[in-house]
Subunit: 381 residues, 2 copies
């Protein structure tokens, strides 16, 4: 009888249920919520965040966790088995969360809702200045978060650990230095020769309903199950899992550029099939979800760049694309479209980038985030 483990499981199920609610609130905010709804949503998100935090950091919970860990250890359970990993993840989350005051968690959740809304409005108005004060507040909160969590070496370590467990800023710098040494000369060589690939065929008017239908077809063929998901529009594409039985992806559409919708659908579909593939027995536990952002991106980029920009894929799928857009692609050969979708080069936006440029963006984003947390870069810059 693993009594404490069962009690821990029950408690974790309640916390997972609150996380489910928080995920739905977040998804709704970015896809459905009317612009006026920010204040109520911020209060709702803060309440759910606060309560989940309190449940998962109470003294009683800490004791329960200890007893459950002892139970698992005494049972001689497989250290890679579900019970041992559940206890391990619960311990990691507890040790992290217990350092944060509940008021701070509520403030952070509230600021994220308000900040996201401000970002959307600023993006629509193409006015960064309007977002800058919110970003300033968010960065300040992330610095406080790092201080609460503590770190041996670099404040960004504390934040990185939440999405890339046990990796440090120094680790990432090492990996990226190596990657950068190979990528930069490659991108330079490509940039010197951008005229070599003609991608004019991708920059034409594309009917939005037809783009949508194509994205739907593509994601279905990639194995995304619409009985357990749906596709919507949002300012920036994302995937949100409310459990393996309800994983939703979003795309955005540009009326005159083929890539954003098509490759965002492929990318998000990678995240979404990953999340739909979580075994049902992990539903309602902290074992639901991706092991890390890196693992998650490995899935999205597999489908976006290795599959959907692959030669075999275009041999197979181009007839369908052509049938959807005969006026645009009728006289474009398979070879030409294959080269066009793989055209590399500097681009300001991550989503529609090829694999090489994508890497540059990831590295840049990492440098930016680290510099903002260090304070070596200001929000105004």
């Amino acid at each position: 009888m693993a009594e404490a483990l069962e009690a821990l499981r029950a408690r974790l199920a309640v916390i997972a249920g609150l996380d489910h609610a928080a995920s739905v609130l977040g998804w709704d905010q970015e896809t459905m919520m009317p612009p006026g709804g920010t204040a109520s949503r911020a209060r709702g998100m803060a309440a759910v965040g606060r309560v989940a935090h309190e449940l998962g950091t109470s003294a009683e919970y800490g004791r329960l966790l200890e007893v459950a860990e002892a139970e698992v250890a005494a049972s001689g359970a497989d250290p890679d088995g579900d019970d041992a990993r559940l206890a391990w993840v619960a311990r990691r989350d507890y040790d992290r969360n217990v350092r944060l005051p509940a008021d701070f968690v509520a403030e952070l959740r509230e600021a994220e809702v308000v900040g996201t809304q401000a970002w959307q409005a600023a993006r629509e108005a193409d006015d960064y200045a309007q977002f800058a004060p919110q970003l300033d507040r968010l960065v300040a909160l992330q610095r406080r978060l790092a201080d609460y969590l503590g770190y041996a070496d670099h404040p960004y370590d504390a934040l990185l650990d939440a999405f890339e467990p046990e990796m440090t800023t120094a680790d990432v710098r090492r990996v990226f230095a190596d990657l950068r040494a190979r990528t930069v000369p490659l991108v330079r060589a490509i940039a010197a020769n951008t005229g070599a690939v003609d991608d004019a065929c991708l920059h034409q008017p594309f009917d939005e309903d037809a783009q949508w239908a194509l994205a739907r077809d593509l994601t279905e063929r990639f194995g995304y199950d619409y009985a357990r998901g749906r596709m919507d529009r949002s300012a920036h594409p994302f995937t949100s899992s409310f459990g393996p039985d309800d994983v939703r992806l979003t795309v955005r559409l540009q009326p005159d550029f083929f890539n954003p919708c098509f490759f965002a659908a492929a990318h998000e579909c990678g995240h979404a099939t990953h999340a739909q593939g979580v075994p049902e027995r992990f539903a309602g536990t902290p074992l639901d979800g991706s092991a890390s952002s890196g693992i998650g991106e490995s899935q999205s980029r597999l489908w976006e760049n290795l599959v959907a920009r692959g030669r075999d894929f275009w041999r197979y799928y181009y007839p369908r694309v052509r049938e959807t857009f005969p006026a645009q692609f009728g006289d474009v050969s398979e070879e030409r479209v294959y080269r066009a979708v793989n055209k590399a080069g500097p681009s300001p936006i991550r989503v529609e980038a090829d694999e090489v440029t994508y890497n540059l963006h990831i590295m840049l984003r990492f440098d930016l985030e680290v510099a903002l947390i260090e304070g070596t870069l200001g929000v105004a810059e």
Copy 2:
């Protein structure tokens, strides 16, 4: 310094935030959720319900409420003022909720999610038998709810009190007996003469996008603010408030009948403008929302039947309807359409009924619910 009252307010704000989350989960289930998402949603709803219940019934909360009440009483506050009413509503909710075990609340919330999904599926398949076991379970839970809550006279009193505070089954029977004595002969007289009104003009094909646009225009003219709301489709029309800044309504569309979308929009708009009209200072408190279902329906039926079926309204608005559907209404006079939308008579569905038939439906529904709770009517019947 009303210290306890402020502490009570803070606690109520957290509970209201959880209620916000529960409302969003419920709205999402009926409008957006993929069919596969039921299990995760049921877990999420049960968790949010359980935690809100525990927060609002703890011994510590009970003590806080007592001290806050004493503070308000000692302050000589206006008994109809915000502070006194807040304490009164908090007390009413506490006295009610404290009788319910948290496990029961979680079970009820879970059953409501599963039951709603089963109802939707059965409705789509037009197969009542498929829903019957779920209805059976829901009725059994309502009986247990009544037993937990307690009642002096009739088990339905305990349930009625939740949406029509301080009214009893006997009260409603008295009101309805009077209403029925006047309504039944009226409906009989009407039924004997159904040929007198020709409503064929309402039973024609109506383009769904055009119906939608008309409903949008109508609700805007009735004062519904889309910056703080949105309109969607659902199996049965409803309005859901997440706070005065985010109140959403739904309609359903029939391709060959004018009434369902148009009058559902008018009806739900009554609820929605009522909810959007709640003063901002009540947001995030238990004073947000309608005082009772009866008050709520007074608003929805005001707009649906007294306004949108009124002669003055059709004089004003018919040009817009005709412009939207020239083929259907081009040669239908204002007098004929006014009589058609007011055609009374037995109808199986509440939403598109005139005021008189509506009353019959409300009375029937009351009798049905009371009989199910009494057990004098079985689910199979």
